[in-house]
C-alpha cells in the first residue's frame, strides 16, 4: 500500500479491517454469482420454473393409480437450425391416469450424408407441472450420434405423479433438436455434468 494510505491507516486503524472485509464480501459475491447457476438448476428442478425437467432418470414411484382423473400429455417435436435431422413422435398425445406410467416412441432421422451429434432439449408447459412429470427413460438425458442417413427409434418412459396440481389437466412436452459441436463438448459439459449427479 501507498505511503499516504499507510499514514492514514495508522491514524485510522479501522480502515485496513474494513478493506479486508469488503474485499472478502466482493470475492464472496463473485463466487455467489457462479454458485447461482447450479442453485438455479436445483431450484428449477424442484419448482419447475421454466418447465425444465430432470436431466437424469428418475425411479418409478409405485403409487396407486388415480383412476378418477385423466391427464392429457401432448408431444411436440421441433428442430433447431444447423442440424439436418428429423425428430418425429409416434403419437401426438396420450391420455394417462396420474400414477400410471406410459411409453412413447420417438424417431430420429439423420437426413444428411454425414454423421453428426445432436441433443433433444425438453421443455414442459405449464411449468408448474414439470416437477410432477417423472421420466424413467429418455433420449434427452444424453447426446445422440447418428451416422449418415441413420434412423433411430428411442423410447420415452414417463409417469405423471399423483401430486400433479389439480388445476393441470394438459401437459405439453416439447423437444427441440440442437446440434452438438463435439470438439467443444468438454467445455460444454456444464449442463451435462451438472445434471449427471442426482440432487
Amino acid at each position: 500500500m501507498s505511503d499516504s494510505t499507510r499514514e492514514d491507516s495508522q491514524r485510522y486503524p479501522g480502515v485496513r479491517r474494513t478493506v479486508v472485509r469488503t474485499v472478502a464480501a466482493l470475492v464472496g459475491m463473485f463466487a455467489f454469482a457462479f454458485a447461482l447457476v447450479p442453485l438455479y438448476d436445483v431450484f428449477c428442478e424442484v419448482t419447475g420454473i421454466n418447465g425444465k425437467t430432470r436431466g437424469s432418470a428418475q425411479a418409478l414411484i409405485h403409487e396407486e393409480v388415480d383412476e378418477s382423473r385423466m391427464v392429457t400429455v401432448q408431444f411436440i417435436t421441433r428442430s433447431g437450425s444447423g442440424l439436418p435431422w428429423n425428430l418425429d413422435v409416434e403419437t401426438r398425445q396420450v391420455r394417462v391416469h396420474p400414477g400410471q406410467s406410459a411409453e412413447v416412441n420417438f424417431a430420429f432421422h439423420n437426413r444428411s450424408d454425414s454423421g453428426s451429434w445432436g441433443r433433444a432439449v425438453p421443455s414442459v408447459s405449464p411449468s408448474s407441472a414439470a416437477p410432477h412429470l417423472r421420466k424413467m427413460t429418455c433420449f434427452c438425458f444424453e447426446e445422440q450420434h447418428l451416422t449418415a442417413g441413420e434412423r433411430l427409434e428411442l423410447p420415452l418412459v414417463f409417469q405423471v405423479a399423483r401430486d400433479l396440481p389439480s388445476d393441470v389437466n394438459t401437459l405439453t412436452l416439447v423437444y427441440t433438436l440442437y446440434p452438438v459441436t463435439r470438439d467443444k463438448a468438454p467445455l460444454q459439459a456444464r449442463a451435462t455434468a451438472g445434471k449427471g449427479d442426482e440432487a
Binding site: 421454466n50 418447465g51 401432448q74 411436440i76 421441433r78 428442430s79 433447431g80 437450425s81 444447423g82 442440424l83 439436418p84 401426438r92 437426413r111 444428411s112 432439449v121 421443455s123 414442459v124 408447459s125 405449464p126 442417413g149 388445476d167 393441470v168 389437466n169 394438459t170 405439453t172 416439447v174 427441440t176 440442437y178 446440434p179 459441436t181
Partner: protein, 372 residues
C-alpha cells in the same frame, strides 16, 4: 387553503385524468377478452389511486411552497419528528397496497389458468417474423410484415396500418378458449396484442403458455415487444378473430390448400414459374436480412448477389436454406417453407441480380431431399 386544494385537485385531475379516461389512443385499450377488461379496470383503479395520492401530496407541497415563503414573512417552526404521523403514513399506504393486491392476485390467477382449451396454437418467434402452427390440424404458416419497404423509406405514401399489417394474419375463432404455446427459433421475442392483453416472451428451447378467449370478431394488431435484433420494429402481429363457423370454414379451406400445394410438388415447374414464386418468397422471408437486391449487410448477413460459393455449389446452397447455419441468424427453413417455396426461392436467388446460373430447382427434388 380549501379553495387552493380544490383548485389543485381539479386542475391535476383534468390535466392527467381526462385525456386518459376519455380519449381513444391515449390510454390502454379495454380490449376484447374478459382478462383484458379486468386488466384495464386494474389499470384504471391504480391510476386513480395514484391521482388521488398525488393530489393530496402535491396539494400539501404546493400549499407549503406558497404559504411558507420567507418573502411573505414566514418564520420556520422547529418540529422535526412526530411518531404518530410517521406511523400513519407508513400504515395507510400499506393498507392501500393490500387493497390493490387482492384484485390483482385474482386476475393473475385467472391469467395463469390455460386449462381446457379447445384449440392449441403454437407461436414461434423467428428473426423477424412469426410462425403459427395449429396443433393437430396440419395448418401452419409464417406471418411477415406486410408494409412495403418503399413506405418505410418514404418513397410511397404510408397506409392506415403502416407497420401493423402482415401478409397472413393469425386467424382465431371467437368464444373458444385458445391456448398459445410459445417458443422461439433464435433469440427471445415477445408476442403482444394489446386488445387481447396477451404479452408473452418466446424463448429458444423453452415453451411458454398463455391463452385467450376473444369476445368480439375483428382484426387486432400488435407487435414484437422484446428487442430481438435489427428488424425488431418490423415484426407485427395481426390477429383476425372470426365467428366460429367462419373460422371452421377457414381452417377447412387452409387444410385443402395445403394438400393442393403438396400436390404441386410432383409436377415439373417452369423456370419462369419458379422465378415468379421465388421472388415473392424472397421478398417476404429473405429480404429483411439479405436485402432487396441481394447485397446483404455484411458481416452479419452475407451478400447473395455475386456470391461465388452460392453460384458454384447448389448442394451447399440448398443445405443452407433447408438446415440453416447454427449460431447465426440463418434459420432452418425445412419446416417453415414447403418444398415448392424452397425450390422457388433457391431458383430465384440463383438467377437474380446477375447470378444467372440458369438452373431451375424442382420442388420434387427438394421434397426428396427433405424426406430422404
Amino acid at each position: 387553503m380549501r379553495t387552493l386544494l380544490v383548485w389543485m385537485a381539479g386542475s391535476l385531475g383534468l390535466a392527467l385524468g381526462v385525456p386518459l379516461a376519455m380519449a381513444n389512443g391515449w390510454n390502454m385499450p379495454v380490449g376484447v377478452t374478459d382478462v383484458s377488461r379486468e386488466i384495464h379496470s386494474l389499470h384504471m383503479t391504480i391510476f386513480w389511486i395514484c391521482v388521488i395520492i398525488g393530489v393530496v401530496v402535491f396539494g400539501v407541497m404546493f400549499y407549503s411552497l406558497f404559504r411558507f415563503r420567507r418573502s411573505k414573512g414566514a418564520k420556520s417552526a422547529h418540529f422535526h419528528e412526530n411518531t404518530t404521523v410517521e406511523v400513519i403514513w407508513t400504515a395507510v399506504p400499506l393498507l392501500i397496497l393490500v387493497g390493490m393486491a387482492v384484485p390483482a392476485t385474482a386476475t393473475l390467477k385467472k391469467m395463469y389458468d390455460a386449462s381446457d382449451a379447445e384449440l392449441d396454437v403454437m407461436i414461434i418467434g423467428q428473426q423477424w417474423r412469426w410462425r403459427y402452427e395449429y396443433l393437430g390440424e396440419d395448418v401452419a404458416f409464417t406471418s411477415n410484415l406486410g408494409t412495403p419497404r418503399d413506405q418505410i423509406r418514404g418513397a410511397e405514401a404510408r397506409g392506415e396500418h403502416y407497420l401493423l399489417e402482415v401478409d397472413e394474419p393469425l386467424v382465431l375463432p371467437i368464444n373458444r378458449k385458445v391456448r398459445f404455446l410459445m417458443t422461439s427459433d433464435d433469440v427471445i421475442h415477445s408476442w403482444w396484442v394489446p386488445e387481447l392483453a396477451v404479452k408473452q416472451d418466446t424463448i429458444p428451447g423453452f415453451v411458454n403458455e398463455n391463452w385467450v378467449r376473444i369476445n368480439e370478431p375483428g382484426i387486432y394488431r400488435g407487435q414484437c415487444a422484446e428487442l430481438c435484433g435489427m428488424d425488431h420494429g418490423f415484426m407485427p402481429v395481426v390477429v383476425h378473430a372470426m365467428e366460429e363457423e367462419d373460422f371452421d370454414a377457414w381452417l377447412a379451406e387452409r387444410k385443402e390448400a395445403a394438400e393442393q400445394e403438396a400436390m404441386g410438388v410432383d409436377r415439373e415447374w417452369e423456370l419462369a414459374e419458379l422465378m415468379e414464386r421465388g421472388e415473392g418468397v424472397y421478398g417476404s422471408i429473405c429480404a429483411s436480412c439479405h436485402q432487396a437486391e441481394g447485397q446483404g449487410s455484411p458481416p452479419a448477413f452475407p451478400a447473395l448477389a455475386g456470391n461465388q460459393r452460392l453460384i458454384d455449389d447448389l448442394e451447399w446452397h440448398l443445405d443452407t436454406v433447408i438446415n440453416g447455419v447454427s449460431g447465426t441468424a440463418m434459420p432452418a427453413f425445412r419446416s417453415t417453407l414447403n418444398p415448392v417455396e424452397i425450390a422457388a426461392v433457391v431458383t430465384w436467388t440463383r438467377n437474380a441480380w446477375g447470378n444467372d446460373t440458369g438452373e431451375a430447382v424442382q420442388p420434387a427434388d427438394v421434397a426428396e431431399r427433405l424426406a430422404q
